[in-house]
């Protein structure tokens, strides 16, 4: 296929660790195949070639933390036919959204001798707080298989087949013994979005919620389980406020926990 006939893919970065973009480069078996199916028009981590839009599919990593970011995401939306966010930063503000509960000036003073040199917003917000998003791919980091599915689905102009159930389903599929039932280990699996393949319980630890909330959560029933397994109020708040801090369900549950 000639370059001009292929759909144009762009990959963009906001405040983040680069891990979700790297997931694309970690698709070693599929990478050259994907590069043949699409024209990678903008992907600065991987290529110096930089073609102007419009783009058929934009993958956006990272959260919005500066005024320039606010302007940049508007532009990216305007030149993108489809816009998909990849990862916890882009879908739920990322770990840097912990500033949303603090005075950002205190944070600046803690890290920088001259906080006045630093330009930043008081909040870290998901992409959907600023522009319409076609699809949000969860995870810190995203799962390689789900990323390939999303790219393939948009190339075929169909809806991505990414399940919205909880990590518990994946433990059952994997045949992992429930760490909460068997060992009394606190585990966020019941309220966490599937996608990772339930890795943590398979490695003997409780899920720590890096894929954010599943589509149906029941915190009033779930939090007493965490308490039964030894977590106090601060432990519960900390585990909900880590990588998906600005996800509305985790945010609301953590606030309720603090209010008592």
């Amino acid at each position: 296929m000639a370059a001009s006939d292929r759909p144009k893919l762009a990959v963009w970065k906001f405040a983040s660790c680069d891990g979700c973009q790297l997931t694309l480069l970690d698709c070693e078996d599929e990478l050259l195949g994907i590069a043949e199916r699409v024209e990678i028009s903008h992907f600065l981590e991987a290529s110096s070639a930089d073609a102007p839009g419009p783009y058929d599919l934009s993958l956006v990593e990272g959260s919005v933390t500066t005024q320039q970011d606010v302007d940049r995401i508007q532009h990216i939306r305007a030149v993108s036919k489809r816009l998909v966010t990849i990862g916890a930063c882009a879908t739920a503000g990322g770990v840097q959204a912990l500033r949303n509960y603090a005075d950002v000036a205190d944070f600046q003073t803690a890290v920088y001798a001259r906080p006045d040199y630093i330009e930043t917003l008081a909040t870290s917000t998901p992409i959907s707080a600023h522009v319409p998003v076609d699809f949000e791919l969860r995870g810190c980091p995203i799962d390689r298989g789900q990323l390939v599915e999303v790219i393939t689905a948009y190339l075929a102009e169909r809806k991505p087949d990414v399940p919205a159930h909880s990590v518990c389903f994946e433990c059952k599929q994997r045949g992992t013994v429930c760490v909460t039932v068997a060992h009394g280990t606190p585990c966020l699996g019941p309220v966490t979005h599937a996608g990772c393949g339930a890795i943590c319980p398979a490695y003997g630890r409780g899920c720590y919620g890096c894929f954010g909330p599943s589509n149906s959560t029941n915190f009033p029933s779930f939090i007493p389980l965490l308490r039964r397994d030894g977590m106090d109020t601060l432990d519960v708040v900390r585990v909900l406020r880590t990588f998906n801090t600005a996800a509305p369900e985790f945010d609301a549950a953590s606030r309720k926990e603090l209010e008592g």
Binding site: K13, F14, A15, S16, C17, D18, G19, C20, Q21, L22, T23, L25, D26, E28, D29, L31, L32, A35, I40, L44, E45, A46, S47, S48, A49, D50, T65, T66, D69, G94, V95, Q96, L98, R99, A102, V104, D106, F107, Q108, A110, V111, Y112, A113, R114, I118, T120, C140, P141, C196, I199, C200, A202, Y203, G204, R205, Y208, D235, R238, T242, F243
Partner: protein
């Protein structure tokens, strides 16, 4: 950007690095008056929000500083917190940590060599472009990268932000049988890595040197990765030698507890990354520094490959100070990591418990390990409940910024001596110089805007 009373050109963006940066060059006629590498990745405030977290959390949280070297963050955090708690992890658990780190070295260094850096030497925009004419080389790189990821996935649960690392060791340790298929894959990887050293050794390298102190961990008897003592090798000018001298020079070492005494950070207006000095001088961490300080401890197969690739013999006091040749040193390190991973797997005997207990206590701890891009230092202060009250992270990129700026200044100055370059030529030259040092700017952003200010 505007600069009063001068011509300002805004001429491009830096790709194939990790993070966002901008380069400002001010030229006074044929003299480079100033070279500033600005990191404008938005700040994420890790050191601030680590305060108030439990002492068990920094290994998971700080891995999110960098998706390309999460293990480095996890293990520097573990070492620092274990140090605060008076625990030293030894034996097979320490060996498994080193195995995990070998996985990250293979994956991350291979990414840099094949996907980010090699296109510079072959006149390509990207590995995709490179794959059109050199598909076998790209496929070998992807296969090698996948072998590194296989270690991370088995031992860590996943390649990016592994879940299996905890204070004192691991949540779950592998059985001998689980490691066996990994060994099969690593034997192939070792051949691929040896081939990669030969491949990159055939590239054309400009003459260049770096006149900075070199800084890496050292651990007599082994090539330091996951532990060691901070060690400095003097810069050539201290011995009256040219920057490109390949002679090893005297070293000095200090305890990791004194890291903050020797390495001082300062903030500059043009960057969200802090700049570091080592005893008031510019210094360079990373592959060139490690090879200079620990090269003699490489395994025989890696030493032979280094010798055949023209790097000389570090046992005879030869070092490499040409930043362009760092791609060869990196390839030798990948070969070493594959070989070392096989050695660890061969010697593996599952320890009785997956982790040592790390009871919390009040105090301050320090930890440093060799991230693929250089020495990464963490410091934590805990209260008696095990809550973090203070945290400090010093990534390699922040330490290298001064040396990279000096490198850029020199390289542009030399180019000006050969005539008046266009801005496009300068951009290409500077991008190459920056990629030689593999700046992992995600501790910053993805974009180098080059501004040339001519007066």
């Amino acid at each position: 950007m505007t600069h009063r009373g001068s011509r300002v050109l805004h001429i491009g963006s830096l790709a194939r690095v990790e993070g966002e940066g901008a380069l400002y060059l001010r030229m006074d006629g044929a003299e480079v008056a100033e070279a500033r590498l600005a990191i404008y990745e938005p700040p994420r405030f890790f050191e601030a929000f680590l305060r108030g977290r439990s002492y068990t959390e920094p290994p998971d949280i700080t891995s999110r500083v960098c998706g390309i070297c999460p293990v480095a963050y996890q293990l520097s955090a573990c070492r620092a917190i274990e140090d605060a708690c008076g625990v030293v992890v030894e034996g097979q658990l320490a060996a498994l940590r080193r195995l995990l780190y070998c996985g990250e070295w293979i994956e991350s260094q291979t990414l840099h060599i094949h996907l980010l850096h090699a296109p510079d030497f072959l006149g390509c925009d990207s590995f995709i472009d490179m794959a059109r004419t050199r598909r076998a080389d790209v496929e070998r790189g992807l296969r090698l990268k996948q072998a590194g990821n296989a270690i991370l996935e088995l031992l860590g649960g996943r390649a990016i932000h592994p879940v299996n690392v905890r204070l004192g060791g691991f949540h779950r340790i592998p059985t001998t049988n689980e490691l066996r298929p990994l060994a099969e894959r690593l034997r192939r990887a070792r051949d691929d890595a040896a081939e990669t050293v030969r491949w990159v050794a055939g590239f054309e390298f400009p003459d260049a040197g770096c006149d900075n102190d070199l800084f890496a961990l050292s651990e007599p008897g082994t090539y330091a990765i996951e532990s060691g003592t901070p060690t400095v090798m003097a810069a050539p000018h201290t011995a009256g030698l040219p920057p490109e001298s390949d002679r090893a020079l005297p070293t000095r070492a200090f305890g990791v507890h004194d890291f903050g005494v020797h390495v001082t950070e300062s903030q500059v207006p043009h960057s969200t990354a802090l700049h570091s000095l080592l005893d008031d001088r510019r210094h360079l961490t990373g592959s060139l520094a490690r090879y200079a300080i620990s090269g003699r401890w490489l395994s025989p197969i890696a030493l032979q490959a280094a010798h055949d690739a023209g790097l000389g013999d570090p046992r005879q006091g030869t070092v490499c100070r040409n930043p362009f040749r760092s791609i060869i040193v990196r390839a030798v390190e990948v070969l070493y990591a594959a070989d070392e991973a096989l050695r660890i797997i061969d010697a593996y005997e599952p320890p009785p418990r997956p982790y040592a207990d790390v009871p919390s206590r009040a105090g301050t701890g320090h930890g440093a390990t060799e991230a693929p891009r250089g020495l990464l230092y963490h410091r934590y202060t805990l209260d008696s409940e095990g809550t973090v009250t203070d945290a400090g992270l010093v990534p390699p990129t922040a330490q290298n910024l001064g040396a990279v700026e000096e490198d850029l200044r020199r390289i542009v100055q030399e180019r000006l001596g050969d005539g008046d370059p266009t801005d496009a030529e300068l951009t290409t030259l500077c991008e190459r110089a920056i990629r030689n040092h593999d700046p992992c700017i995600s501790c910053s952003a993805h974009f180098l805007d080059l501004t040339v200010d001519r007066t």
